[in-house]
């Protein structure tokens, strides 16, 4: 079955692509927050005032624009604003409520943020992934705030018997200009609740020049103090009376099954109370648990020690021969033959044949593990047909649905409390760990915490794909690139949901393959088949990692072959400022956004290249052994260019003295958090470039912890990362920030290494390649 033809069968997968048209007028109910302030506003697929449309309405359960759900004002004037997206480090738990506070003229110091539980009917889509939160919620959150402000103003005008046009909300008060009278938000809350709800079309949004918070970057994240004093509440920090602690031994091979186990020795470990089987689902198991044997104890340490004492026999199943060395060879073989054509312009085959010169680059990028600092963990308390979950999940609503289905109880009986996430990066979009806790709690009849160890995380994750990217570029006699053939071969995320899925899904093809922005007459993008032998999942920036690596590496290869400056080559390939016409691509995936609002605009692509080159000192003199590299990539509908300076010593040890990144993410909320995301993306980019590799032998992951899967530490981190944010135009739609910083880093680094040493890395990780 072609996975693209019947996505409805793919639960979980479908959450990311399906289209919904549901009226929500009948489901607007109050939240029951403190205070008497209640308003309602209609829900729209296209936000009023926005000059652009987003894909928000097409996400599962769409967008709910309802101040009664998101805002409450207590009689003492304190304002509660709901954060319905998950906080994994991007700052969204601060920035979305900040938008509401800005627009309603609330004083941020009197605002409390309340985390929403999982309920997409009430709150709208909660899938915190795809770098979507700001771009989908900037306007809805402004509307919610503006509704609240309008009703407060109307209530004040009525009390004073003056025209509404004479009153104005400002910093937690409503003022009557002519008389100088004032009323606090708390004084007005009850009356405001009686006011009719203003029509959204009549709402007046603030003039951006009056913004106190948006675009300023002067507000620290709401959890800052709690984090620094150890009080911030993550998934593992939930403690319930009578709670048991569990760890699970899972099948070491994806799709493997438990044959038998002996828990005698485990039961002798001090603190161990029970050893029991956990139900597993057949592969492809979607987000369902893998099954195995659980050890239940009075604390996590005892459970881990007990698990070490288990004797288990597994049936490895069909993936027991998965071997990364052999698999790489099979991907390379596939990449050297024609594959499914997913974009075609002109005749690349003929142009390559007639080209004066053909440059071929074949690039390999291995599996990666997320290794969030907080490994997967969840607490569940299942009593009868009711379940309550506390978990660090990116998908609160999806988790609720999955818990209900897994336990066979109504969704309304499931409460999912979303804690802070100790890192997400896509791993916590999959709620398997919460389902494990739910199953165990049901069996045990008591609350239970399931803690994954680091080894569990690395052995049983949803890995970033592994890919071979092969690009052939044909040049004419003048050195102009006239042909481009890119074959991308990688096991697809769809294989985690549908048996036998072997072609990449539209949302993967759209991440740097079919959306390649160069102005070349003859283009062929192909996707040969690749079978998956482990669980593949979303990893921060997803397929953009291999695609940006390949495409941008080829730019460097072409610059070298034609003796041109790499930045000049890059700008020449991008070509004229234009909106790229991708109408030839079937099922074009544009990060879920309408192409009209978010087209590929090469003027913006050029601009970030020019900005980073200017600010980052492209072409500056560097010491011997140093080199500069540049790369650009559009992903999550943002445009990012990075310059990396590398230093390689005579033993092949590399350091990164400086990174410069320019980002055009359209209209933005909190530039300070954009900077932190880009700083972090450089570290993650360096981690994957230098060390990142998960390999399989006999179906099992060969790495287990930070010793065998290293990530960058402070002593090898870039010394400085400078971030330049392109000022948005007045109507530029907001675009992604969390993920797009990652893809351009590795190719920029590789170019810098080439500039420093003359060695071109085509296979990641770099590992010891420079030592040779």
């Amino acid at each position: 079955m072609n996975i693209l033809t019947n996505p409805k069968n793919l639960r979980g997968f479908e959450r990311h692509i399906k289209v919904e048209n549901v009226s929500r007028r009948n489901i607007l109910k109050g939240l029951g927050l403190a205070g008497g302030f209640v308003l309602a506003a209609p829900v729209m697929s296209r936000p009023a005032f926005a000059k652009y449309e987003t894909g928000a309405g097409k996400m599962p359960h769409g967008t709910v624009v309802d101040p009664r759900v998101f805002v409450a004002i207590a009689p003492d004037g304190s304002v509660t604003i709901v954060a319905h997206r998950a906080e994994m480090g991007t700052g969204v738990r601060t920035s979305l409520p900040l938008i509401v506070a800005e627009e309603m003229e609330a004083d941020w110091s009197r605002v409390r943020v309340q985390q929403a539980h999982g309920d997409e009917v009430k709150f709208g889509n909660q899938d915190t992934d795809g770098s979507r939160s700001t771009r989908h919620y900037l306007i809805p959150m402004r509307q919610i705030g503006a509704s609240a402000r309008a009703m407060l103003e109307a209530a004040a005008a009525k009390r004073w018997g003056v025209p509404a046009s004479e009153v104005k909300a400002s910093n937690h008060e409503v003022l009557h200009g002519p008389s100088g009278r004032k009323l606090g938000f708390g004084d007005l809350a009850a009356d405001a609740a009686k006011e009719p709800v203003p029509g959204v079309e009549g709402l007046k949004l603030k003039d951006p020049k009056d913004f106190r918070y948006l675009g300023k970057g002067e507000i620290g994240i709401v959890d800052l103090r709690d984090i620094t004093v150890g009080k911030a509440h993550y998934g593992a920090d939930t403690r319930l009376p009578g709670m048991k602690y569990a760890v699970i031994a899972r099948p070491p091979v994806t799709g493997g099954k438990l044959v038998s186990f002996d828990g005698t020795e485990a039961m002798k470990v001090s603190g161990v109370e029970k050893v029991m089987e956990v139900k597993g689902w057949p592969w492809p198991s979607k987000f369902q648990p893998l099954g195995g044997v659980a050890v239940i104890a009075r604390n996590t340490g005892a459970a881990i020690k007990g698990r070490d004492a288990l004797k288990i026999i597994w049936d490895d199943g069909a993936n027991g021969k998965y071997d990364s060395v052999a698999y790489r060879a099979s991907l390379e073989e596939a990449a050297r033959k024609p594959g499914l054509v997913v974009r075609k312009e002109g005749d690349a085959d003929a142009a390559l044949k007639s080209a004066d010169k053909v440059i071929v680059g074949e690039y390999y990028l291995p599996h990666l593990a997320h290794v969030t600092m907080e490994p997967p963990v969840a607490v569940a308390d299942v009593k009868g047909d009711k379940a309550e979950i506390w978990a660090p999940v990116q998908s609160a609503g999806g988790t609720r649905e999955d818990v209900a289905k897994t336990l066979g109880i109504p969704e309304g009986n499931v409460t999912v409390n979303v804690t802070l996430l100790g890192g997400g990066f896509g791993r916590k979009s999959k709620c398997d760990f919460a389902l494990e806790a739910a199953l165990l709690s049901k069996e045990l009849g008591s609350p239970v915490k399931v803690q994954w160890t680091r080894e569990d995380d690395i052995h049983n994750g949803f890995l970033h794909t592994v890919s071979v990217e092969r690009i052939e570029a044909g040049l004419d006699k003048s050195g102009k690139v006239i042909a481009w053939r890119h074959r991308s071969v990688a096991p697809t995320i769809a294989s985690t949901f549908a048996a036998g899925a072997s072609h990449e899904a539209a949302f993967e093809l759209g991440m740097g393959l079919v959306d390649m922005p160069f102005e070349i007459a003859n283009i062929s993008c192909e996707n040969p088949e690749a079978a998956a032998h482990t669980r593949i999942g979303w990893f921060r920036s997803v397929s953009n990692i291999p695609r940006a690596f390949a495409v941008q590496s080829m730019v460097g290869e072409l610059a070298h072959a034609t003796n041109r400056d790499q930045k000049d080559m890059l700008l020449e390939l991008i070509g004229s400022p234009r909106i790229i016409d991708l109408s030839s691509v079937k099922d074009l995936w544009n990060y879920g956004e309408p192409y009209d609002s978010y087209p590929i605009d090469t003027a913006r692509l050029r601009k970030v290249v020019e900005l980073v080159a200017d600010k980052g000192g492209w072409g500056r003199a560097v010491p011997k052994g140093h080199g500069l590299g540049i790369a650009v990539h559009r992903s999550f509908v943002s445009y990012i260019a990075t310059i990396v300076e590398v230093a390689v010593d005579d033993k092949g040890k590399l350091t990164v003295p400086r990174v410069d990144t320019a980002i055009d993410c359209g209209t933005y909320v909190n530039p300070e958090r954009i900077e932190s995301q880009i700083e972090g993306a450089a570290i993650m980019g360096l981690s994957l470039a230098k060390y990142g590799e998960i390999t399989f032998k006999d179906g099992k992951v060969e790495q287990g912890n930070f010793d065998s899967f290293p990530v960058i530490r402070m002593d090898e981190a870039p010394l400085v990362t400078n971030v330049y944010i392109v000022p948005p135009g007045p109507d530029t739609p907001p675009s992604g920030v969390g993920e797009p910083g990652v893809p351009p880093f590795a190719p920029a680094l590789i170019h810098a290494i080439f500039a420093a040493t003359g060695k071109r890395i085509r296979s990641l990780p770099i590992g010891k390649q420079l030592e040779a």
Partner: protein, 150 residues
Amino acid sequence: MIKLKINGQEQNWDGDPDLPLLWFLRDEAGLTGTKFGCGQALCGACTVIIDKQAVRACITSVSDAAGRDVTTIEGLHPSGDHAVQKAWRQVNVPQCGYCQAGQIMQAAALLMDNPKPSHDQIREAMAGNICRCGCYQRIENAVHLASTGV
């Protein structure tokens, strides 16, 4: 019965003496500020201070901690205003925040030992603490700020 002194308070443990201190702190004593990251002293998320030294609680047994002064993030400063904590807030260090308790404890121990560390000394001393979000530039700046007075 093992007697422990955690953040100035006496605690008793009559279970497995080999239990890693991390799990005693988190699961038995309810001090969840100290985090689990790797279980093998590879990431530093569980860093506590024992007798003025930064120690990885995940490989330190309860019996090894017996009779010594254990300080966790909850006990670093009575009002949470240790110079390192204040610097962390001033620099807006955290992203997800999960590793930060360990980072702060490591930094506090560094400054006890070396009140004015150079940037190289900071980078070396903090290299045992992983931050997957990649807040290193800010951590380095915050430690430097704490050492020079906030």
